[in-house]
């Protein structure tokens, strides 16, 4: 069944879009990440204009992260205080990111910077996580309690200490704010939510429990994406309501199952799966960058007289 998208100006298959939404929703519900880094390439591959893809993802991610947040709230797995601190830092970082984005765009090297930093970022995070989780999975098998005790978390002895009760964490606001700033910056430059950086960072650097990380990250993504939807609609006007609605319906269903699957997963396996996912996507993008393209030529319409 086909439906014509009013803003993207092309027909798409309803069930294909629902399916893509469901798969991305499942992953997003399971790991507490927005899934933008999976959805963007999938939709662009279908032929949807990149500007419409980036703008339309925002309400779609807002819908699925609201579902994840509500599910996490019922399990008391959201640290609202931590979420607010991260959000504030993220807003400032986003501002700097947009400035950097525009500056690079003027120089004309944006595409290369995005491609290379995407691969470097995903590859590094994925590989580090993969090594760590393989090591700890093996370690728990050998000696159940030896692995994750001795390491300290970041910012234990800096000023501006704050207590985050739900996360069982007392930490300085400075490293937390810096993390949120960096994630906001990278997110704005790469056009993604940045959950795949935030989630591993909270787990590995700050030792926040996995379950709380997912809920808190969902809350933060929800707030960011609501703001992003309004900004995109007001400035570039490329939010496609029909496409967003289809993706939403698919992804909220997927997110439900994802959240349930995630809750039953042991911490080590959760981290291993997330590592494999991120590393896999990095390999895929890296392959695109170094492999000989099928057609070295591409055509893009810059402006059309209507």
């Amino acid at each position: 069944m086909q439906i014509y998208l009013p803003i993207a100006e092309m027909p798409v298959d309803v069930f294909v879009v629902l399916g893509i939404g469901a798969v991305v929703g499942f992953i997003s519900g399971m790991f507490g990440i927005g899934g933008g880094f999976l959805l963007t390439p999938a939709l662009i591959f279908m032929g949807v204009p990149p500007a419409v893809v980036v703008a339309t993802q925002a309400p779609q991610i807002a819908a699925s992260s609201l579902t994840s947040t509500l599910a996490a709230l019922r399990k008391n797995a959201v640290d609202v205080k931590l979420g607010v601190v991260l959000l504030l830092g993220g807003l400032i970082g986003t501002q700097f990111g947009v400035m950097f984005f525009n500056a690079m765009n003027r120089i004309g090297q944006l595409e290369t910077i995005i491609a290379v930093s995407y691969v470097a970022l995903l590859g590094t995070i994925g590989l580090l996580m993969l090594i760590e989780s393989l090591r700890s999975t093996l370690a728990t098998r050998r000696a159940p309690s030896a692995a994750s005790k001795a390491r300290s978390r970041w910012g234990g002895n800096l000023p501006l200490q704050m207590r985050f009760a739900r996360s069982g964490l007392t930490v300085s606001v400075i490293p937390l704010g810096l993390l949120a700033l960096a994630v906001g910056f990278i997110g704005a430059v790469l056009g993604i939510g940045g959950g795949f950086i935030m989630v591993p960072a909270l787990i590995y650097l700050f030792r926040v429990p996995t379950l709380v990380v997912v809920g808190t990250s969902s809350l933060q993504i929800l707030a960011t994406m609501v703001a992003a939807t309004i900004l995109h609609a007001a400035t570039d006007r490329s939010v496609d309501l029909f496409l967003a609605a289809l993706l939403m319906v698919g992804s909220v269903f997927g997110a439900q199952f994802g959240a349930r699957a995630g809750a039953h997963l042991r911490g080590e396996y959760f981290r291993l799966l997330l590592a494999l996912l991120i590393f896999g996507v990095a390999l895929r993008f890296g392959h695109d960058l170094v492999a000989k393209p099928d057609n070295p030529y591409s055509a893009s319409v810059t402006e059309t007289a209507r």
């Binding site: 027909p11 819908a63 019922r74 609501v226 939403m248 393209p293 070295p296 030529y297 055509a299």
Partner: protein, 256 residues
């Protein structure tokens, strides 16, 4: 009435340069293609006849007809990826100004049998002749340009936006014709022009131009209009929808 106007236009268009007395009268089956939410493409027919008067000479060969449909024009940038270090990066580009977003060339037999290649180039008949070589700021055309142009043609052909249909014009009588084409779902919106030309024995006898538009209608038009004219409300509506769907899902799936 419209027929009459078209006929007059055809006569005027046919006059200068065409000393022979044939004129071409044609019309398109619809002047507007409405895009609704279940739009996946549309069928379009161009029909008409070759009018002869007392001055028309008797012809030994049958008429040939070529119909060219062109979509709204725009600036197209064609980029080429090159192997730089370990990476394949966009390294070179050419711009094509006023390039049609859609081209369909309909004829009753292959173009090569209707006109000579030189004449086809001069008259801009055929897909290849409608996308012309374009030079840089100083009007120079370099050696690599043809590769970019043929890549553009190949990409558009693969998308179904550029096409030639050498058997899509049907002669109902020796002078009455009907041409039909299926426009794809991704056909760009905007104003299209249709040019019909009649040939005999390799030379052009008459030519006429028609037009139609592709527009959004119904819910498609309302959504697009809302996005354009009330961006803030549209954004809030999108957020509202997102929150509603997210909340509904969590209610539906609640199992405690």
């Amino acid at each position: 009435m419209r027929r009459f106007v078209l006929a007059v236009v055809a006569c005027i268009a046919g006059l200068p340069g065409f000393a022979r007395a044939e004129t071409l009268v044609a019309s398109v089956s619809r002047s507007r293609i409405d895009i609704t939410s279940n739009f996946t493409g549309a069928d379009l027919a161009v029909f008409g006849s070759v009018e002869r008067d007392a001055a028309s000479i008797a012809r030994a060969t049958a008429y040939d007809l070529v119909v060219t449909i062109r979509g709204p024009r725009g600036l197209v940038t064609v980029r080429e990826k090159k192997h730089i270090g370990p990476f394949w990066l966009n390294a070179d580009a050419r711009k094509y100004i006023a390039t049609p977003s859609y081209i369909a060339v309909l004829s009753n037999r292959p173009l090569a049998e209707i006109v000579s290649p030189e004449f086809a180039t001069k008259l801009r008949i055929g897909v290849d002749n409608l996308v012309t070589a374009q030079g840089d700021k100083r009007w120079r055309i370099d050696e690599e340009e043809p590769q970019f142009r043929s890549a553009l043609l190949q990409i558009r052909r693969a998308q179904g936006l550029f096409s030639e249909h050498p058997a899509s014009v049907e002669w109902l009588t020796p002078t009455l014709f009907r041409a039909s084409v299926h426009m794809p779902g991704i056909a760009p919106l905007g104003a299209y022009d249709v040019e019909a030309a009649v040939f005999s024995d390799g030379s052009q006898l008459a030519r006429t131009t028609l037009s139609f538009t592709v527009v959004k209608s119904g819910s498609e038009a309302s959504v697009a209009q809302a996005a354009r004219e009330h961006p803030l409300l549209y954004g809030l509506a999108a957020v509202g929808l997102a929150l509603l769907v997210g909340w509904l899902a969590s209610v539906i799936f609640r199992r405690d």
